[in-house]
Amino acid sequence: MHPAYSVIFFTTTSGAGLGLLTLLGFLSAAGALPAHFGFGIAAFAIALGLLTFGLLSSTFHLGHPERAWRALTQWRSSWLAREGVFAVLVYPAVALFAFGWLAVGSNYGPWAVVGLLVAGLSMLTVVCTAMIYASLKTIHQWHNIWTPPAYITLSVMSGGVWLNALVEVFGLSNPYIAGWVAASIAGAWIARLFYWRFVDDTEAISTPETATGLRVYGKVRAVEGPHTVDSYLNREMGYTAARRHAARLRRVVHLAAFAVPLLLTMASVLWSNSWLAIATSLIVAPVASLGLLVERWLFFAEAKHTVNLYYGAEAA
């Protein structure tokens, strides 16, 4: 599948924003985050900024962005519409949570319920994003049980590295928060490993023979395409990363998105509340985010659509 930059930026930035909101709600309810005013302002600004930037960038790949409101109407059948509905519902919930945090000065007790509501709606939005991909029977690399866990853990993890940077900067760090962030990175890594194992070890059930129904005559191969130049189908669905190239990029993801952030986050527990902890957390957040951009690029570039079986692909 063609890795459209607008969709890559949308899923990674809104994923990070929603992950950050989830952790803010969850850790507030757990009593691990004080309702610090400056920290609250910064955290909500970053989370809503990421989410809003992501949602706006998702409209850039639309043919008619001015009609985007229509995408909220078909929640009964469409995961994309459900994602839109939940993403819109996140905003009033966050507004209420931020009111309690910033104006009332509390994120505990009844306000923690609001926080958990924010976390729940954020996670539901991410689940819907994952299901958009996981529900497509046409793409074997997406239509499997590993896509939703990977999306959820990557979202929490990417919000987590930014949360860790924020609590270090505002001097609010505690091992509990760093521990949760490290756990989310480890969880995301494991989910991604299972996902990649599935992608490497399995193949789509559709073949050129089932696509054409010509198996009884022997092995089928495409000898002539419908047109001498590429069409929309080839440009949108025909993109595949070269295997060697993909392997190299996977190593980048292992290192930048998982190994380095996990080690440094665990290490920052040791030297917490020092300038070293601030420095490492501020390094980890952008490095992990870049790693996740590469990860999302690979998610698209390694996906093979069944339509390619009509254009000479031997497997999907």
């Binding site: 639309l62 043919g63 995408a71 958009i132 029977k137 130049v229 009509y310």
Partner: protein, 247 residues
């Protein structure tokens, strides 16, 4: 509504494509483009149409495949357009309600005034039936020539999809595949018509008829069992013709 019809009428209009007959001339695709660029999904835009890198919207495309190797190799021309599936995921993934499947005849259409151009329906189609119109910013697809088959201003003989009326080989048939007594359903039953990618469960309406078994014996094609060597007169004639035409 992008949910599938809760109470489908049972009428399932669609095409039956005979892979034994198709000669791969692309006439159906050309007529499709010609009709539909002025019809229901009009226009079907092109970019750089006469330049080095043309790209444009086509609702019908003809592939050519080879099956098997060596002496038994077969060439199969393979037209492909929207199959108007019973379980059309392209409809249910649509977030806006622009994609819909008609209750009365099962035809899958796009309301271009509602389409936001998110392209998700084209991702959900395993067959590559939907094509995005870059110029108009909306998705285009085969309408089964809805503006022909119900068009009372046309003579009844022309109330067929463009691809069907234009096929010079008679490889395309149109009819109600929901009615087991219809001509197309009987053709499918008689010839062993099949679905494309049945394993995905889309239940396409359009059916494909397999190439007939190859005739390998001389008498099956009316040829003499043994070739008789040419006589002297024929050989002289051949020599003389050869001399004339090689000059």
């Amino acid at each position: 509504m992008t949910s599938l019809p809760a109470f489908p009428s049972g009428r399932r209009l669609g095409l039956v494509i005979d892979l034994d007959i198709c000669v791969g001339c692309h006439a159906c695709a050309v007529h499709c483009k010609e009709w539909n660029t002025g019809g229901h999904p009009a226009p079907l835009t092109d970019r750089d149409a006469y330049g080095p890198d043309p790209v444009g919207v086509w609702l019908n495309r003809i592939h050519t495949f080879e099956a098997d190797e060596g002496e038994d190799v077969r060439t199969i021309h393979f037209p492909k357009s929207c199959l108007h599936c019973e379980n059309a995921d392209c409809v249910t993934v649509c977030p806006t309600g622009a994609s819909y499947k008609r209750e009365q005849d099962g035809i899958v259409l796009v309301n271009e005034d509602w389409c936001i151009g998110c392209k998700l329906c084209s991702w959900a189609c395993p067959y590559g039936a939907r094509e995005f119109d870059e110029t108009e910013g909306v998705m285009k697809k085969c309408t089964l020539c809805i503006d022909r088959i119900y068009n009372e201003n046309m003579q009844e003989v022309d109330r067929l999809p463009s691809c069907v009326v234009t096929c010079p080989a008679g490889a395309r048939h149109f009819g109600d595949l929901g009615d087991p007594r219809s001509a197309v359903s009987q053709l499918v039953a008689a010839r062993g018509g099949f679905d494309l990618m049945p394993e995905l469960g889309y239940k396409p309406t359009n059916k494909y008829l397999p190439p007939r078994p190859r005739k390998t014996r001389a008498r099956d094609i009316g040829a003499p069992r043994r070739l008789v060597p040419a006589g002297n007169a024929e050989r002289l004639l051949a020599k003389w013709m050869d001399r004339i035409f090689t000059r």
